[in-house]
Structure formats: structure tokens, C-alpha cells
């Protein structure tokens, strides 16, 4: 059991499903759907196994897998879960499975739809269980492409056209990830100087003794990158439009788990690697989070389209998560993770 | 005594003439021919450098062969393109070839 690469299998099942689907004819709709359902269900069951198999008393990273990849840069294909990632992994699979279920009756371009959806689910999952910065970033980028295609191909035009919504979403996420990339590279370079060997492993990086000024700088970059992803005020403009424009299954994933990558990243990378920076920037983040909570909450009141209501309210709720992260203490972090899990569940439920 | 510099200057002049042809001609085939001139200029340089600097290694000649190969491919594709465009536009005048605009 301990040798079984359960996380890899969980991660790769939807991708395998996607690959299988690409080999089918577009007219074999029911087979395509079944493959999608089976692969996401498999992932869901495996993530349940992970959830119950996690040794709570022991804590820490468990079920780790690590295969060296690019030795010169210290990159390895490393997965692992701990108390923060398990709920989000479970959430992703729950929502992934229900997204497949919710789009069961899709009629147009079924093949493309499910291939992209499965890729999206895998990408989100990968960000939550990667313990290597490079792998994390890789999966983060994997997420963006299918979501763009899904929005422009299957979305609906509301206040804005779906093409606009999809493009806005993509540009925001890519700009965010550009900041993130700069931060990650800075971390890598600095850590190499401090540790004497190149590494991308998060836990190894956490041992490096970064100077406070450097931490503040990198944390600011992270806050911009992840903040854009979790729709931090005032970088939230992509979220309501993207939410409203996306097809239901994507809205579920978008509001349900996609934004959680931002919160997760801020906790996992921001707080773990850069605690001093996080403390330093926390007041500013807290103010922006309040902006989220109040501002988006009030805007919700005038919305008439249910999807926009959910979109703005998810912006508002991510403000609470951000507030929890900005508070930098154990209770608030617990609350932030709980909040992410809980609010991950409800937008799918209210997706029309 | 004729040295390397003379051959290089010959190459340079050929290259310049070819470049002028590329800018100044309207006929697409003429432009293609001018490009051939430029490629030949390069070949002259390769062979001259091979002769004067490292006669035994033969690297310059090798490169010249590759240039000739690529030039042959280029001419074939280029002419096919010109003929293809000519079929649609009834012209080989480069001023009519503004498909790349905007």
C-alpha cells in the first residue's frame, strides 16, 4: 500500500481519461461521457482513500512521491499531501465529478468538452498536491488554457460576450502568473545562493534563511499573483464576468476550486516560505480583503443574474479567506482552509 | 599577391549587388535571382576562407555545399510560390503582393 503511488494515480486518471477520449470518434457521446465519469469517479474514490488514509496524529506531508526530473535545476516530480491540501484535493475531485455529472447532457462538441474538462480537473488537482514549485507552477499554467477554451467554446454571453470574458480571465491569470514566475525564480536563485545547491522542493526551500527585505519583495509578488487568482480587490474584475460567461461545469470549477489555488498558494508558498514577508505585508492584504468582503458583497445586492450574484459573492467570500491568511495565526488559517472547502461546495450547488 | 581579402571583397561586392537587386526590382523572379546572387557571394567567402585559413579541414566547402542545397530548395519553393500567386493575381509584380498587410 505504501508503495502504491496513489497521488500520481489520482492525478493522472483524468488525464488518462482525456487521452482515451481523444482517440474516440466525436459521435460516441455516451462512451465519452462514461469515460469522463469513470475517471473522475476513480479520482474521487482515490482522494477519499487519501483523506481517510492520512495519519492525522502524525501530521505533516504524507504519501509523498518524488522522481528527480531536471537535476541541474533541482526540479523533481514531487507530490505529497498534508492537512491543507487534503481538503482541497477532496473538494477538487468532488466538484470535478459533479461537474462531469452536471454537464452530462452537453450535446455540442462533447469530445472536446470532456477532454478539456478533464485536463482542467487534473491541472487544479496537480497544483494542490505538488510539493515542487516548478510542478506547482506547471499545473497552474495547465489550468489556464482549458478554461479559456471552455469559456469561449461553450460559454454564454451575458453582460459581456463570452469571448471577452474568456480573454479577460486568461489575461488576468497569465499576468498574475507572470508575477508569480518572477517570485518563484527569485526564490530559486536566492535559495541556491543560501543553500548552496539548486532546489525547487518547497520544504527544502523553507529551510533557507531568506532576509526580511527579500521576503517582503517576493511575498508582494506572490500576493499579486495569487491575489489575482483568488480575485483580490481590485484585481477581481475577471471573476464575475468569467463566472457568468463560463458553462455551468466550468463555473463550478472556477468558483469552486480554481480560486482556491490562490488561497492555497498564499498559505503553502507564501506563509511557509516567507513568514516574515507575510507578516510585514499582512495589514495591506487585510485592507484589500476587507475591500473584497464589503465591496463585492454590496455589489451583489443589485445583481439580477444569478450567475453574477454567485460570481460577486465568491469574490466577497474569497475576501474572508484572504483575511484569514492575512491574520497569520493558526485559528485564522484553519478558518481560511475551512472556508475554502465550504465555499467550494456551495457555488456548484447554486449553479443553474 | 592575391590574398583572402580580395576574395572577400569580391564576395562583398556580389552581396551588395544582390542586395540592391532585392530592393530595387519589381519582378518577383528577379528578386529571387538577386537572392541567389547573395547566396553565391556567401559561398565565395566560404570557399575562400577554407582555402586560405584551413585548407585541410574542408569545413568551408562543406558549408558551401549545404548552402547550395538550401538554395536549391529555396528556389524550388520560391518559384512554386510565385507561380501559385501568379495564378491568382495574374502578376509577378511585388507591389501587387500586399497580402501580408495588416
Amino acid at each position: 500500500m505504501s508503495d502504491f503511488p496513489i497521488l500520481s494515480v489520482t492525478l493522472l486518471l483524468p488525464i488518462a481519461g482525456a487521452v482515451l477520449i481523444t482517440m474516440l470518434s466525436p459521435t460516441q457521446k455516451s462512451i465519452i461521457r462514461s469515460i469522463a465519469a469513470v475517471s473522475t469517479l476513480g479520482s474521487l474514490l482515490l482522494s477519499l482513500v487519501v483523506f481517510f488514509g492520512y495519519d492525522q496524529l502524525q501530521g505533516g506531508l504524507q504519501m509523498t512521491e518524488s522522481i528527480p526530473w531536471v537535476r541541474d535545476l533541482g526540479i523533481s516530480y514531487a507530490l505529497g499531501v498534508d492537512g491543507i491540501s487534503i481538503p482541497l484535493l477532496l473538494l477538487t475531485n468532488l466538484i470535478g465529478f459533479s461537474a462531469v455529472y452536471a454537464s452530462w447532457h452537453t450535446q455540442e462538441r462533447v469530445k472536446e468538452f470532456f477532454v478539456l474538462l478533464l485536463l482542467l480537473i487534473s491541472g487544479v488537482m496537480g497544483t494542490f498536491i505538488a510539493t515542487d514549485l516548478f510542478i506547482f507552477f506547471l499545473f497552474y499554467e495547465v489550468v489556464v488554457i482549458p478554461i479559456y477554451l471552455l469559456v469561449i467554446m461553450f460559454g454564454s454571453s451575458k453582460r459581456v460576450t463570452k469571448e471577452y470574458a474568456g480573454m479577460k480571465l486568461t489575461i488576468y491569470l497569465l499576468i498574475g502568473s507572470a508575477f508569480l514566475l518572477v517570485g518563484l525564480i527569485a526564490l530559486f536563485v536566492q535559495a541556491k545562493a543560501l543553500l548552496g545547491f539548486p532546489t525547487m522542493d518547497i520544504n527544502t526551500l523553507a529551510r533557507a534563511d531568506f532576509s526580511v527585505g527579500f521576503q517582503v519583495f517576493v511575498y508582494c509578488l506572490m500576493a499579486l499573483g495569487f491575489g489575482t487568482l483568488l480575485s483580490m480587490f481590485p484585481f477581481h474584475a475577471w471573476s464575475p464576468d468569467g463566472y457568468a460567461g463560463a458553462p455551468t461545469a466550468v463555473s463550478m470549477i472556477h468558483a469552486g476550486v480554481l480560486k482556491k489555488i490562490g488561497g492555497y498558494g498564499l498559505i503553502r508558498i507564501g506563509l511557509l516560505l516567507l513568514p516574515a514577508g507575510a507578516r510585514y505585508v499582512a495589514p495591506l492584504i487585510a485592507i484589500l480583503a476587507l475591500g473584497n468582503v464589503v465591496y463585492a458583497g454590496i455589489i451583489c445586492l443589485t445583481q439580477k443574474d444569478l450567475k453574477y450574484i454567485v460570481g460577486y459573492s465568491s469574490v466577497s467570500h474569497m475576501g474572508y479567506v484572504l483575511l484569514g491568511i492575512a491574520s497569520v495565526n493558526l485559528i485564522s488559517l484553519n478558518g481560511a482552509v475551512m472556508m475554502m472547502f465550504a465555499m467550494g461546495l456551495w457555488p456548484p450547488c447554486s449553479s443553474p | 599577391m592575391i590574398g583572402l581579402n580580395h576574395y572577400l571583397l569580391l564576395g562583398t561586392v556580389l552581396f551588395g549587388i544582390g542586395a540592391y537587386g532585392v530592393f530595387a526590382k519589381r519582378n518577383a523572379i528577379a528578386v529571387l535571382m538577386s537572392i541567389e546572387l547573395m547566396l553565391n557571394a556567401v559561398n565565395v567567402n566560404f570557399v575562400a576562407i577554407n582555402r586560405f585559413l584551413q585548407p585541410a579541414a574542408g569545413m568551408g566547402q562543406l558549408f558551401a555545399i549545404f548552402v547550395i542545397v538550401v538554395a536549391a530548395a529555396e528556389v524550388a519553393v520560391g518559384l512554386a510560390l510565385i507561380i501559385s500567386i501568379y495564378r491568382h493575381r495574374k502578376s509577378v509584380d511585388l507591389n501587387d503582393f500586399n497580402l501580408l498587410k495588416w
Binding site: - | M1, I2, L4, Y7, L9, L10, T12, V13, L14, F15, G16, I17, G18, Y20, G21, V22, F23, A24, K25, R26, N27, I29, A30, L32, M33, S34, E36, L37, N40, N43, V47, N50, R51, F52, L53, P55, A56, A57, G58, Q61, L62, A64, I65, I68, V69, V70, A71, A72, A73, E74, V75, A76, V77, L79, A80, I82, I83, S84, Y86, N95
Partner: protein
């Protein structure tokens, strides 16, 4: 300046080559241009012989003066207008004409200066030994076999591509 035999040969060949090249770009008749191009190729081939690269000279004559020129003339015949006298005019725009010439001069002067300023390593006074073909073969099928194969594939692709492009639509 002492004129010896080598210099004389070089000068004659160079003059011939440059004159033909000028003919290519200055002629107003595309057929004349093409013929001048063949002469230029021959001139370059003579240069190769002069430089002791006799194999390459032969290749030059075969590929350029033979194959490519024929290809070009075929293309000209396919697209030529009835009066061939005005088939190869210069661009009407004076600016382009002028700028093109200027740039060509600038490049020539620049490269010429660069050549003049370069300090070359020791020159070999003698041409290479007779078996240049053997050396080339060893190189092509030895160290550079991958590039050789790539060139072969390139040629194949170019041939196929040219056929597809030139063939046009089946049902226009």
C-alpha cells in the same frame, strides 16, 4: 603593383563575375537577367576552381548553372508577359530605389572596412591536397551525417511542397 599570373586570372574572373551580376540587376529584360545570372554562376564556379575547390566548382556548374537556372527560366516562361522588354523594371518608387542603393553601398563599405580591419590568423599559401572530395565525403557521412540527412529531408520536403504549391487547386 606587380602583376603576376594569379592576380591577372583573379582580376579577369572577378571582373567577369561582377559584370554579369550587374547585368542581372540592371537588365530590363528578365530573360537577359536570367542569362546574366547563368554567367555569374559560371564566374563564381571559376572562382572556385581558382581557389582549388574543383569539386565545388563542378557542383556549382551542375546545380546552379544547370538546374536552378533552368528552373528559373521555366518559371519565367510560365509567367512572362507578351512583350519581354519591360519584364524586369526597377521599382517605380524612387525612394525605395535610392534607399536600396544606399543601403547596398553602406553594406559594401562596412563589410569592406571590416575585412580590411580584420587581423587574420596565419595564411596557408598552398591550396589543399587533391583529395578534397574524399575529405568532404568523410565529413558529410561522418560528423555531419545528421545535418546531411536533414538537408536530404529538406530537399525532399521542398520538392513535395513545390509540387503542391505549383500544382494549384484541382478544381479551380
Amino acid at each position: 603593383m606587380i602583376m603576376n599570373m594569379d592576380s591577372l586570372v583573379f582580376l579577369i574572373i572577378s571582373a567577369f563575375t561582377i559584370a554579369s551580376a550587374l547585368g542581372v540587376v540592371l537588365s530590363r529584360n528578365i530573360i537577359h537577367s536570367a542569362l546574366a545570372l547563368i554567367l555569374t554562376f559560371l564566374g563564381v564556379a571559376m572562382n572556385f576552381f581558382d581557389l582549388g575547390a574543383s569539386f565545388l566548382g563542378l557542383v556549382q556548374i551542375l546545380v546552379y548553372a544547370g538546374a536552378i537556372s533552368v528552373l528559373i527560366i521555366f518559371a519565367i516562361m510560365l509567367v512572362m508577359k507578351p512583350d519581354s522588354a519591360a519584364t524586369n523594371p526597377p521599382t517605380p518608387s524612387r525612394d525605395t530605389h535610392f534607399i536600396g542603393g544606399l543601403l547596398a553601398w553602406l553594406v559594401m563599405i562596412g563589410v569592406g572596412m571590416a575585412i580590411g580591419l580584420t587581423r587574420w590568423p596565419a595564411m596557408a599559401s598552398e591550396p589543399a591536397e587533391a583529395d578534397a572530395v574524399g575529405t568532404l565525403a568523410t565529413l558529410l557521412l561522418g560528423n555531419y551525417v545528421v545535418a546531411f540527412e536533414a538537408a536530404a529531408i529538406l530537399l525532399l520536403l521542398a520538392a513535395v511542397g513545390a509540387i503542391i504549391l505549383a500544382k494549384g487547386d484541382e478544381n479551380p
